[in-house]
Symmetry: C2
Subunit: 352 residues, 2 copies
């Protein structure tokens, strides 16, 4: 069985006593060949341990069946979820997604994109690394390859974007805190080189304005988007003269960090200080106390992105509509009312 040199359709042809063209037809599941011939060929394929050479095929065929998925941080379950969502729909479309991780490194991203293109992918779904230069996708665009951005967008690009409604999510969360009676609010974590940051911060600010919280009572503490960053943010905030009583965090990791830091100081999250997260990762529900967070349905967005990509490939276009996914605030235990001014609050739905 299985010679050293790998088998080709010619070997199969010889084995089955037909021509290479017939083998090719069988491989493609053409209805033109007689069933008996087909099964004879299929047996030969099995016997010689043949493996299809897609590279050779793509030389003649219009499009390949692989699409590339470029993710900025696979170790963040939030993005991993996104990838998994995409995979679900591609799988049922007979497309194989290859995932590559850029580890938030634009140089690495460049390499990965290049490699994916050379491999002849039919399309690209990208969650761009922080610090991606505006021109990074020019090559790809001029090559006419369909691309969609997921979760993140680039400042001035015309590439379609699939992302959650960050502004609204932040607005809802902030409004909730204000409704609970909080009057001194802080936004924790993130940094301004991310478009998402501005979107979320924008929602936070709008809610404050709308609901009559003055600028002097809102605070913004930038920081790493990690547990560690959250810890640092909380320390900073509580060191202030008139510290805030509630925080909207850039994401759940920051929120977990903040809660940790509260505990360390003997404060109880949700009682002594209200915390709201963003993304609603699986862990949020199981935390102690369970974290109130803005659910963005990343798997759903992944599916959406995959569908958009499928449609783009099918209609051979490189344009598509943006899709802003609905978000909703999942209220759990991490954000009770402001204890010190409980009486002042007209309070919408106020269990402690």
């Amino acid at each position: 069985m299985a010679n050293r040199a790998k088998a080709t359709i010619f070997d199969i042809a010889r084995e089955a006593g037909v021509s290479k063209s017939t083998v090719s037809l069988v491989l493609q599941g053409s209805g033109l060949i007689r069933p008996e011939t087909a099964s004879k060929v299929r047996k030969a394929i099995e016997d010689v341990g043949y493996v299809y050479n897609r590279g050779a095929a793509n030389l003649r065929k219009a499009h390949s069946n692989v699409i590339g998925m470029v993710i900025n941080d696979l170790t963040n379950p939030f993005f991993a979820e996104l990838a998994v969502g995409m995979e679900r729909v591609f799988q049922s479309a007979g497309i194989v997604p290859f995932i590559a991780n850029t580890a938030e490194n634009p140089v690495r991203q460049e390499e990965v994109l290049k490699s994916l293109m050379e491999q002849g992918v039919a399309g690209l779904i990208v969650s761009p690394a922080r610090g991606t230069t505006p021109g990074a996708f020019r090559r790809i665009e001029t090559a006419g390859l369909p691309v969609v951005f997921a979760m993140r967008r680039l400042p001035e690009s015309r590439i379609p974007v699939i992302a959650p409604d960050n502004h609204r999510g932040a607005y809802l969360a902030t409004a909730h805190l204000i409704g609970k009676g909080h009057r001194r609010l802080v936004f924790f974590g993130g940094s301004s080189d991310l478009v998402v940051y501005h979107e979320r911060l924008g929602g936070f600010r709008e809610a404050c304005e709308t609901q009559g919280i003055s600028d002097r009572d809102t605070l913004v503490v930038e920081g790493e988007t990690s547990r560690r960053g959250g810890i640092a943010c909380l320390e900073t905030a509580l060191a202030m003269a008139e510290p805030p009583t509630a925080a909207l965090c850039f994401n759940d990791a920051v929120a977990f960090g903040a809660m940790l830091a509260l505990r360390k100081r003997g404060l109880e999250p949700g009682v002594d200080f209200a915390i709201v997260g963003f993304d609603d990762v699986a862990e949020a529900e199981h935390y102690m106390p369970a974290l109130t967070s803005v659910a963005v349905d990343s798997a759903g967005l992944g599916e959406r992105a995959a569908h958009v990509m499928l449609k783009m490939i099918q209609s051979r276009t490189t344009r598509a509509e943006d899709h802003i996914g609905a978000v909703n605030l999942v209220v759990r235990e991490s954000c009770g009312p402001d204890r010190r001014i409980r009486n002042r609050a007209a309070g919408s739905g106020g269990a402690a």
Copy 2:
């Protein structure tokens, strides 16, 4: 710029006024071409927006520069870490790893492996899905493609394995619990269709035997390897007539679940009941209480697996030594001594 039909080396050749062979040589960085000619060619490449067709190249070249990484569950940060470790070393070797997720589904795994082979990968690093049939890798083996298993092994396979020393890890953890004075121990989570399960359970059992804990005082509760599974395990264990006082959990997720369930019953993990996890994911350190766990260094194992693969490719072999990675127990706060029999314990290192 950039015509519709994609540019080939012929287009570049015309543009630069040289032959296709010269262009090919430049592309490969051959030292044979005059520097001025080379830069002329490079300019042309830039001008026409050329993208290299690796499929065509692989038709003639011996080996491709992509290796496939097949992961059973990308949403588990533990495996994501593994992937990231591998990526680090491949990157510096000029190899592009494509990651594919099987979502613990053997059928999906089959598809993914097939696709990767068709793509002409140079090798495969696989963390096999639960329930993988013994024959699943026969095709690949007869094709002479180098494969290494990471983290998990298949019952009777000759494919090299890179994995942590599960037995020893479990032994260490169990011995630690016994040293703390616990006499009724339980093993939480996992199921017997995983080789890893038997390894870890084996370490647990050996420690119990060696240290004189009778079979009657040890308990095994199978369950999902998730938070949910951990919750269920704890409920089962505490419902018993003479419940255990300490648990070794199959992995950290199970441990988190168990701690959650303890809290729900008003019991304090680490004080009223000792919990040890396995894997030492990032979260373990930040939990409340911080989780004692067996650190396996998954990123390090990933790097190791990548190195082994590199060596296999280089020496054109399909054999390699197994590598069992060192583990160590990271003691934190989740496993104090048995309160009820504190006096009986000779106790090695016994802060509550």
